[in-house]
Amino acid sequence: MERSLRNVPVPRSGSGGVMSTNLERRQQLSDPVGRLARMIEIREFEGRVKALFLEGTVSGTTHLCEGQEAVAVGLAAALRPTDPVTCTYRGHGVALALGCTPTAVLGEIMGRSVGLLGGVGGSMHLCDPDVGLLPTFAIVGAGIPVAAGAALTAQVRDRDDVAVAVFGDGATNIGAFHETLNLAAVWRLPVLFVIENNLYGEYTPLPRTTPISDLADRAASYAIPAEIVDGQSLDEVSAAVSRAVARARDGGGPTLLEMKTYRYSGHSRTDTGPYRPDGELEAWSKRDPITLYAESAGLLRELDAIRADVIAQLDAAVAEVKAAPAPPIEAMFRNVVAES
């Protein structure tokens, strides 16, 4: 008995300071202003990451999610911090939405000791057990079965957690997607499969790799419920997730949710998306999730003030991270295996 307690993740201390902690930040999503602010934060955060990458301050790679903010925030708002989430390399937005601080996320992206993993992970590897974020995955599809496993824990240990796997449209063509949806259906696991259908896998548009256009249709192969969701509407995202979560907590098993969304930036690094047809980006920008939500929540007039606030905080975070040291060489030897 005692031994198994070692499995329970140890809460990590927030990066503290005057900023809110990760759990406080999660709590802020219960309020419309908090949700709007978080979407703006993600947008502005990604802009800064792009600039830092282009100036050479961030090395390796980054995958930005501007345009997809409503999915991240709408999802996080409908979950509890104890609900485990797996996500991809395109995870900055989900991490921030779940509550990770900009300092901790940017710190990781820039490989600094203030990062979520102290800088040994990088942009594709974010993690924060306090808010349910399992290590994000750089392998397409790999997080899908892992989320099902987290749901298995809930089922076996009689917890009412619901696990969530967030992944892209392109990931629906990989074997792990198929195997996991089938397994989750057979075992009636409390898990949500959330597709961020942003129309592209890297530089290739969906129709060139996938013979159907509504990926939610694939749920029929596993007899599980599915919904197509307007991924640009935070409220619709939250509502759909809430419905699915309620069913799962109730023993009703898995759900597949297809969020129709769009990424404004290219796939990664310096990609600008030259493969996109003219006007596509503009058309999607007309349904920008931040504007849509500000409108529907009656917050259009507060928008500038909120943005100014967010920017001030982000600028402070950027400064903090830039001033932070890289991890010591020693850090690469930690957490390889259990200390004996």
Binding site: C127, V146, A148, L183
Partner: protein
């Protein structure tokens, strides 16, 4: 002490751990209702019920990945991979996810998962169901790998693996499942990972076996004429017990490693290169790797029997090494 077949020793180890720790669950193809195709999970469903003992679809990537997620969030899953080769459809979850989860979570999401894998030749299953494949797990920091060599090690290593807070692969040489010996069960029967076992003492040479080659090596030592061998069962390959092997070879000044897989790139290269480097100047003869030839495992019985190194062949190689001081040619080069 009770007499158990190796497959019963596995089932007993599982049951003992499941009784001690309610978070231990068992997953795999036909492990529940049927008790496993090798009967190594027999009786578990009856005792622990369908929540903890689960038949899976044929979806190794799916259920191995589910085990990773379950382990990271509060269970200790034990997964059965029916034949080692099936890891080839699921390796990502083992080496790229599970093995790196602790690192990529700053220690917050360790993966206390055990993967039991039946391996090896000698039962006529042919080229795609007879390999050992230890090296698929090589060069993977974060992963541990133990190999059973009979009922006692199957019992003791498995219990240690389940208790371990990192992902551990336990290979079970399938031709040993029917082997029956006395087994110490309970705490006294648990075998710590990373510790080799000197099975027999001797003077002229250290014979190192792992898994299926341990009985062969003991047999070879038994019938030796004109020399005596210290026999070591390595038991754990990742991490392996460098000190125990060096200690023995420092005394015997000769090392012969017996492996069941192909010569090129076999697991013994790790041990051989390390020992040759650390004991340079101490060794009285080159380190010899007695292995199978570089071919897929053949089916026809006389071929498969020739493929797997036997005790007689080991004795010949050792005898030649000791008498000549030179590297003996393997049988297929002497052809």
């Amino acid at each position: 002490m009770t007499k158990l077949r190796m497959r019963q020793a596995v089932a007993t180890a599982l049951a003992d751990e499941m009784r001690d720790d309610p978070t231990v669950v068992v997953l795999g193809e036909d492990v529940a209702e049927a008790g496993g195709v090798f009967k190594a999970t027999d009786g578990l469903l009856a005792e622990f019920g369908p929540k903890r003992v689960r038949d899976t679809p044929i979806s190794e990537m799916g259920f191995l990945g589910a085990a990773v997620g379950a382990a990271a969030t509060g269970l200790r899953p034990v997964v059965e991979i029916m034949f080692g080769e099936f890891l080839g459809v699921a390796l990502d979850q083992l080496v790229t996810e599970a093995a790196k989860f602790r690192y990529l979570s700053a220690g917050h999401y360790p993966v206390p998962m055990t993967v039991r894998v039946s391996v090896g030749a000698g039962v006529g299953f042919g080229a795609q169901h007879s390999q050992c494949l230890e090296t698929w797990c090589y060069a993977t920091p974060g992963l541990k790998l133990a190999v059973a060599s009979g009922p006692q090690t199957a019992y003791g290593l498995l219990r240690a693996a389940i208790r371990d807070d990192d992902p551990v692969v336990v290979l079970e040489p399938r031709r040993l499942y029917p082997e029956r010996t006395e087994v110490t069960t309970g705490e006294a029967g648990v075998i710590p990972l990373g510790v080799a076992d000197v099975r027999r003492t001797g003077e002229d040479v250290t014979l190192l076996g792992l898994g299926g080659t341990v009985p062969t090596v003991l047999d070879a030592a038994e019938g030796a004429d004109g020399w005596t061998a210290e026999v070591i069962d390595l038991r754990t390959l990742l991490p392996w017990d460098v000190e125990a092997v060096l200690d023995s070879v420092r005394r015997t000044r000769r090392l012969v490693i017996v492996e069941e897989g192909p010569f090129t790139g076999g697991w013994g290269t790790e041990v051989a290169s390390r020992v040759a480097a650390e004991l340079f100047g101490v060794l009285a003869a080159p380190v010899v790797r007695v292995t199978a030839p570089d071919v897929p495992v053949p089916y026809a019985k006389p071929l498969e029997e020739r493929y797997v190194p036997g005790a007689e062949y080991v004795r010949e190689q050792v005898g030649e090494l000791i008498s000549s001081g030179r590297l003996p040619k393997p049988w297929w080069e002497a052809r």
